[in-house]
Amino acid sequence: MNKYKKITLDGLIYQNPTFMLVLGTCPTLGLISSAFSAMGMGLTVVVILTLSNILISALRKVIPNAVRIPCYIVIIATLVTFARMFLEKFVPDLYDSLGGFLALIVVNCIILGRAEAFANKHTVPEAAVDGVMQGLGFTVALTLMGIICEFFGKGSLFGLQIMEFKISMLAKPAGAFLVYGLCIAVFTYVIDCIERARRVKANKIARENLLREVA
């Protein structure tokens, strides 16, 4: 089960698609002005990514290497089209707020990237877990930034007006760039600190062990 733990940690933290790999930036910047649309986009990506990972992993032995990219694109485009129909029918609010970015999930580097880097080399369950975790990493990051941008940019949270004070610029692309940039900086800084602390601790234990052996 250690394998799945690693996939989970990778998806959420160490290879977080938004903060660490900086993939799928277009929908991120375009939609974090509202927490609702950011979370909606994240969850849509979770579903599409998981399904595409499962399908591609299942078909990895069937699809010849030469035409794998076109095949992946067709599979992803099919899933996106399906997601678009589904959302338009059942969640029209979300469909409207995602706008053009819904169709652009096809060219979201995260999905094609995971297909190419993970799904076509791993078994179906692993690919599924990877899809969910990478998607959740994306969702959490987007929702977090969505909350920040919406709270300061519109004075509301998930559409609920909280205060009159607002910095409209933060709800515009300019603010999205700023918040995204600063979030990456903070995230990498924190991860860096944790890693360093762990390394120091590991070194200390190693030295103690060495001393004990010598003694």
């Binding site: 067709v74 599979i75 129909m85």
Partner: protein
């Protein structure tokens, strides 16, 4: 490469795989498209419900322009009786326009309010975002019969600092009002609307209402009447002015009961405004006995008049006691509209005080009834006459 070789080659395998994937995707999506297709009606209903706030059935109605400052684009009759009008107002910033969806509330053949104003689109109004929901809500808050006649002026709408844009929005709303007023408001004669309004309080029972003709003589009001006038009074009673009354004969299934419908305008409302009420008083045995009900028919400057929820307190109240008067508004206040309620109490007290000065002919069939005054403050179909001497 031989034909056989081609079929065994990698190229063929690639082609087949790709085509298969494409075919499966195409079939899957075609099925899904069939299952999840959204009909035009559904799309339209969705758009309407977004504007209206809830999903409603609508029927389109013919549009026409009655106001030079606005163009009516589309109009729908909503199932609850209101009209939904898409109106484009002119005269915005840089000669631009603003298109609004206006919910015009419509009852008994007349416009009775503005439900909601939603901005649909605009031309050249770069500050349209500054017109918030607060500003737009004022259209429904400030609605009065006077506004209905003369339209909104831009000074009335605060909170929207953009002058030109505000003008265009006001024009759009006024255009919608004019359209509904002209296209649907005057179709029915005043008499019919008047009777219908009164009929409501009496349920299915037969009523006949008497007013006056041009000469001031008593006359039965019919549905065909173009004008409706009551018996002139114009007397001051306490803090109210009683302007006119109608006589009404109400059949409770056995016999006729005489009711007086007194129009009384109470002073002391919000910002020195007034509220006009129609107070219905039952006359039994030549004496006013009970208030059957009281209804608000008009007001000046009472923006919270729609919040008044205690008109039921004036139903079925015994007024035979000497010097009977309703207690000040505070006693049964259920809303925050203190001032408006004061004006209502004044109006009702004025009507009561007036009716006691009237001398009734005793030619009415006299037969004091043994009724129990158990109905406590509710609009009920029965005429609860309680406590005769």
């Amino acid at each position: 490469m031989t034909v056989k070789g081609f079929f065994k080659s990698n190229v063929f395998k690639c082609l087949v795989t790709l085509l298969c994937v494409l075919l499966v995707s195409g079939i899957f999506l075609t099925i899904m498209n069939g299952l999840l297709a959204i009909s035009d009606e559904e799309r339209f209903a969705r758009a309407i419900s977004k504007i209206y706030g809830k999903s409603v059935a609508t029927t389109p109605v013919a549009v026409a322009d009655y106001n030079t400052n606005a163009t009516i684009e589309e109009a729908y009759k909503v199932e609850d009786g209101n009209y939904l009008v898409k109106s484009t107002g002119k005269g915005g910033y840089e000669n631009g326009t603003v298109t609004c969806w206006v919910v015009v509330e419509y009852k008994n053949g007349a416009v009775c309010g503005i439900g909601k104003v939603v901005i649909d689109s605009n031309k050249n109004q770069s500050y349209i975002d500054r017109v918030g929901e607060k500003a737009l809500n004022q259209f429904s808050e400030l609605y009065s019969s006077e506004v209905n006649e003369k339209g909104y002026t831009e000074d009335m709408i605060t909170n929207a600092t953009v002058k030109g844009t505000k003008t265009a929005i006001c024009n759009a709303v006024n255009g919608a009002l004019d359209y509904v007023n002209n296209a649907f408001g005057k179709v029915r004669a005043l008499g019919e609307r008047f009777l219908e309004e009164i009929q409501k309080a009496y349920g299915e029972n037969v009523i006949s209402v008497y007013g006056t003709d041009e000469t001031g003589a008593e006359k039965l009001i019919t549905k065909e009447d173009e004008t409706v006038t009551g018996f002139k009074v114009d007397e001051k009673h306490g803090n109210a002015t009683v302007t006119e009354y109608y006589k009404l004969k109400y059949n409770d299934g056995e016999k006729d009961i005489l009711h007086y419908l007194i129009s009384s305008t109470g002073n002391g409302g919000y910002q020195d405004g007034t509220v006009t009420c129609r107070v219905t008083i039952a006359i039994v045995g030549g004496k006013p006995t009970t208030i059957y009900n009281a209804a608000i028919t008009g007001n000046v400057g009472q923006s919270y008049i729609n919040d008044i929820k205690h008109m039921g307190n004036y139903s079925n109240v015994d007024i035979t006691a000497d010097g009977f008067e309703f207690a000040p508004a505070g006693d049964f206040l259920t809303s925050g509209a203190t001032k408006s309620s004061t004006a209502i109490v004044n109006a009702v007290n004025g009507a009561v005080s007036y009716i006691k000065t009237v001398k009734f002919e005793t030619s009415e069939p006299e037969e004091p009834e043994e009724g129990e005054g158990e109905d406590s403050g509710n609009d009920s179909d029965e005429n609860g006459e309680g406590g005769n001497a």
